[in-house]
Amino acid sequence: MKFNPRFFVREALKNVRLNLLMSITAVTTTFICILVLGAAILISAHVSSLISSVRQDVTISAFFPQDASQKKMDSVRNSVENYPQVGSVKFVSKQQAYENFKKRFKDNPQVYQDLGSDFLPASLEIKLKNPKDAGVVARKLESEGFAPKDLSYPQQTINRLNRVTDYIVWGLRGATALFLAASVLLISNTIRLSIFARRKEIEVMKLVGASDSFVRTPFVIEGLVQGLVGAVIAAIAVIWANSLFVEWAHNALPFFPISGSDVSILYVLAVLVGLGAMIGVLGSYLSVRRFLRV
C-alpha cells in the first residue's frame, strides 16, 4: 500500500472540521495547559536570573592594616584580581571608607561626629562569581597576609541566601515539572475522551479492512494539528505577557534587575510548541491504539 500523505492530511483536517466541538475542546485544553506551563517556565527563568544577580552582590571585605603602604595594597589587589573565583575587586581607600561610613550613619550623625576622617582602614571589596567560594577565597586571602579578623564576609547570610535560593530554584523547577506532568495528563485525557467518543468509528474502519496505521494516521495528524494550534496560541500569549511584564517591571520595580534578555524567547517558543505537538501526537497515538484491537 502506498503511503499517501495528502490523503491523511485531508482526512485529518476534515475530521477537525466535522468534530468541531471536540477539536475546540482539545485546542482549549492544550492552550490552557501550555499557557500555565509557559508561565511557570518564564517565572522560573526570571527568578533564577534575579537570584543570580542578587548572589553576585555578595562581597568579601578585606581590611588592610592601618599602616599598609599603597604599593603593597596595589600588589595585593592585582594578585586577588587573578583569583579564578573572583568576579571583580574594588579598592576602598581610607577616605572613601569614611565617606561610606558617614553615608551609612547619616541618620544618626552622633556616631561619627567626633571621629577623624582616617579612623577606618582601607579595604578591598571583592565580588565573587559564586558566593559558595567565599570560604576558599577567604583562605587564599589569609595566605596573602590578611588576619582572619580583618576579613569580613557575611558567611551566615551567604549560607542562608544559598540555601533559600537553592530551595526557591528547586521549588520552581519542581512546580514546572509538576505542571509539565499535569499538562501531559490533562491534554492526553482530553484526547483520550475525544477518541473514546469515536471508538465505534475506529472499529468500523478496522472491519472494512483498514490497517492500524491507516486508521491511526489521521487521528495522529489531528492530534498534531490540535496540539500545535493550542500550543502556538499559548506560546504567543506567554511571550506577549512576558514582554508586558518586563516592560512593567522596568518601571514599577526599577531596582529589580529583570530584563527581556533573561529569557530566550525562541527557546521558550520552541519548547512549548514542541511540547504541545508532542503531547498531541503521542496522546492520539496511544489513545487510538487501545481501540484498534478489533
Binding site: L207, V208, G209, A210
Partner: protein, 228 residues
C-alpha cells in the same frame, strides 16, 4: 473458500451462539444462511471476518486457518471480504460517497479509479442523488444501500451480506437479488444471511438453516422453510 470445522462459539459464560458447526462453501458458490432471530447467523459472519474468535474448532477462509493469521495481517484478510453489516456500520463523519470510497482507499487504490468507480456503484444501488449526504441524513433503506455499495465496490472475492434487505422494500430487494446473482456469476463467493422468505424461495439456491446454533438443514436448491 469458507470452511467451518466443528466450530463452537460461546459468548460470555453460557450463551452458546454456535454449536459444532461444520460448513463448507466452495469458491464461486452462492448460499443463503437462514434461521430464527438469535440462531447464530451474524455470529457466522463475525467469525469469517475474524471479528471474533471461535471458542472451539477452526474457521478457514481461502485455505488459511484464521486463528493463524497474525494481527497485522488481519486487514489484508478483511479486504478479501466485502461485508454488508446488519447494522450497516457506516462512518458517521463521511458522506455516502466517502463511505463507499473508504473501502477502496484502505486497499491503497488510486484516486482516479476511486473517482471513476464510486459514482458507478452508487448509481447501481440508486443513490446517485444522495452521494454527498451523511448517514444520519439518509433513510434506513438508503443507509443499507450505502453499506451494500461499500461491500461491492472493491470487487472482493467473497461477499457476505447480513440481512441486506431488512430495510428495503420488495422492489429494491428484487433488484438487489439480481445484483447479487450477477456478482456471483463473475466468480464471487456469496453468502447471504437473511429472513427474506421471498428472496430465498425465488432464487432456489443453496440454503443453510441454523436453529439455536446448530445446522439443521443444508439443501442445494432449498427454500426458506423446509420442503416448500
Amino acid at each position: 473458500m469458507i470452511r467451518f470445522d466443528n466450530v463452537t462459539k460461546v459468548y460470555g459464560r453460557d450463551t452458546v451462539a454456535l454449536e459444532r458447526v461444520n460448513l463448507e462453501i466452495g469458491e464461486g458458490e452462492f448460499a443463503f444462511l437462514v434461521g430464527a432471530s438469535g440462531s447464530g447467523k451474524s455470529t457466522v459472519v463475525r467469525l469469517i471476518l475474524k471479528e471474533t474468535e471461535p471458542s472451539a474448532g477452526a474457521v478457514y477462509v481461502g485455505g488459511t486457518r484464521l486463528s493463524s493469521i497474525p494481527r497485522r495481517k488481519i486487514p489484508q484478510h478483511r479486504r478479501n471480504i466485502g461485508c454488508v453489516f446488519q447494522d450497516f456500520k457506516l462512518l458517521p463523519n463521511k458522506t455516502a460517497a466517502e463511505n463507499v470510497a473508504y473501502a477502496m482507499e484502505v486497499t491503497g487504490q488510486r484516486r482516479r479509479s476511486i473517482r471513476a468507480k464510486v459514482p458507478q456503484i452508487l448509481e447501481l444501488v440508486g443513490l446517485s442523488e444522495k452521494r454527498d449526504r451523511y448517514p444520519e441524513e439518509l433513510s434506513g433503506g438508503e443507509q443499507q444501500r450505502v453499506s451494500i455499495a461499500r461491500a461491492f465496490v472493491s470487487q472482493p472475492p467473497i461477499l457476505i451480506a447480513d440481512e441486506p434487505t431488512g430495510n428495503l422494500d420488495p422492489d429494491t430487494s428484487v433488484s438487489l437479488m439480481q445484483l447479487l446473482e450477477r456478482i456471483n456469476r463473475i466468480g464471487t463467493t456469496v453468502l447471504v444471511a437473511t429472513h427474506d422468505r421471498d428472496m430465498v424461495n425465488e432464487m432456489r439456491r443453496r440454503v443453510i438453516a441454523l436453529d439455536r446454533g446448530r445446522i439443521v438443514r443444508d439443501e442445494v436448491k432449498g427454500a426458506y422453510a423446509g420442503e416448500v
